[in-house]
C-alpha cells in the first residue's frame, strides 16, 4: 500500500510517501501499526485531532473507515488553500 504524508506530517515522518505491507484493515489500525514501528511516526500522529485522512484520494471523516483494497492512504494537517 502507498502511504503519503503532506505538510508537517511529511516533515515529521521524513518522507513524502512510501510503499508498505500493512496488516491493518482500517485507517485507525494503520495509524496504530505505523506508531509501533518508529518514534517518528509516533511524533507525527501524537495529536489525531490535527490529522486529516484521504483514502484513494477521497477525504474520510471516520478513522474506522476500511482501507481494504485501498491503493493509497494520505495523511495531512487541516488544509489551508485559497
Amino acid at each position: 500500500m502507498k502511504i503519503l504524508y503532506f505538510s508537517w506530517l511529511r516533515e515529521k515522518v521524513g518522507v513524502p510517501n512510501e510503499e508498505k505491507d500493512i496488516k491493518a484493515t482500517t485507517v485507525i489500525g494503520l495509524i496504530e501499526e505505523l506508531v509501533q514501528l518508529e518514534e517518528r511516526y509516533a511524533m507525527a500522529f501524537s495529536d489525531l485531532k490535527s490529522v486529516r485522512v484521504a483514502v484513494d484520494q477521497k477525504l474520510v471523516q471516520d478513522l474506522k473507515t476500511s482501507i481494504e483494497n485501498a491503493r493509497e492512504v494520505a495523511f495531512f494537517p487541516p488544509m489551508t488553500g485559497g
Partner: protein
C-alpha cells in the same frame, strides 16, 4: 488542467506553478459565451502582513497532485448544481510565491449577479479548507506552516 462542459456551464480548473492573467481568463469566458451578464471574480494574492513583526520572504504551497484538481472540480460541480451559472474558471497556484504574487483566481459567470456572487463565495470558502493545499511561510530566520482558521471552518456551515 481540466475542462468540462456540463449543462452548458463550462468548468475549467487548473493547479499550476506559473502565473495567470485575469484579463485572459475573462476573454476565454467571453469567447465561449458572449453574453454572461455578470461576472464575479475573486483574486487572491500573497500578503506580507500576516505577521506584523517579521517580513515574509516567500510562501511555499504544497499540494496533493491529482487530488487537488479533482477536489476543486467537485466543488465547482456542486456550485453549478446549486446556482444557474454560465461558466466557472478556477486557477490555484502551487510552489514558491513572493508577496504580491497571485495565488488563486475564481471566476464565475452568470446571468444574474446574485448567483455569480453566491457561487464565487461558495467556491472560495471550500477552497480554503477542503482542498489538499498547505501553505508554509518563510521568514528571514524561520518558517512555519500556516494554521487553519476555525473561522474558515465555520464559514462552511452557511452553505
Amino acid at each position: 488542467m481540466s475542462s468540462y462542459g456540463i449543462n452548458h456551464c463550462e468548468i475549467f480548473v487548473s493547479v499550476q506553478g506559473h502565473d495567470f492573467n485575469l484579463q485572459f481568463e475573462i476573454e476565454s469566458i467571453k469567447n465561449e459565451r458572449k453574453n454572461f451578464g455578470g461576472l464575479v471574480s475573486f483574486l487572491g494574492q500573497v500578503r506580507n502582513d500576516r505577521d506584523t513583526e517579521k517580513e515574509l520572504l516567500f510562501l511555499e504551497l504544497e499540494h496533493y497532485p491529482d487530488m487537488t484538481e479533482r477536489e476543486i472540480i467537485s466543488i465547482c460541480q456542486e456550485a453549478k448544481d446549486r446556482w444557474e451559472l454560465g461558466a466557472i474558471r478556477v486557477i490555484h497556484r502551487v510552489g514558491k510565491l513572493v508577496p504580491g504574487d497571485n495565488i488563486v483566481l475564481a471566476l464565475v459567470a452568470a446571468s444574474h449577479r446574485n448567483e455569480a456572487f453566491k457561487a464565487s463565495e461558495f467556491i472560495m470558502d471550500f477552497l480554503k479548507s477542503r482542498v489538499p493545499i498547505w501553505k508554509k511561510e518563510h521568514f528571514e530566520d524561520n518558517s512555519s506552516w500556516v494554521k487553519s482558521k476555525q473561522s474558515d471552518e465555520e464559514l462552511l456551515s452557511r452553505w
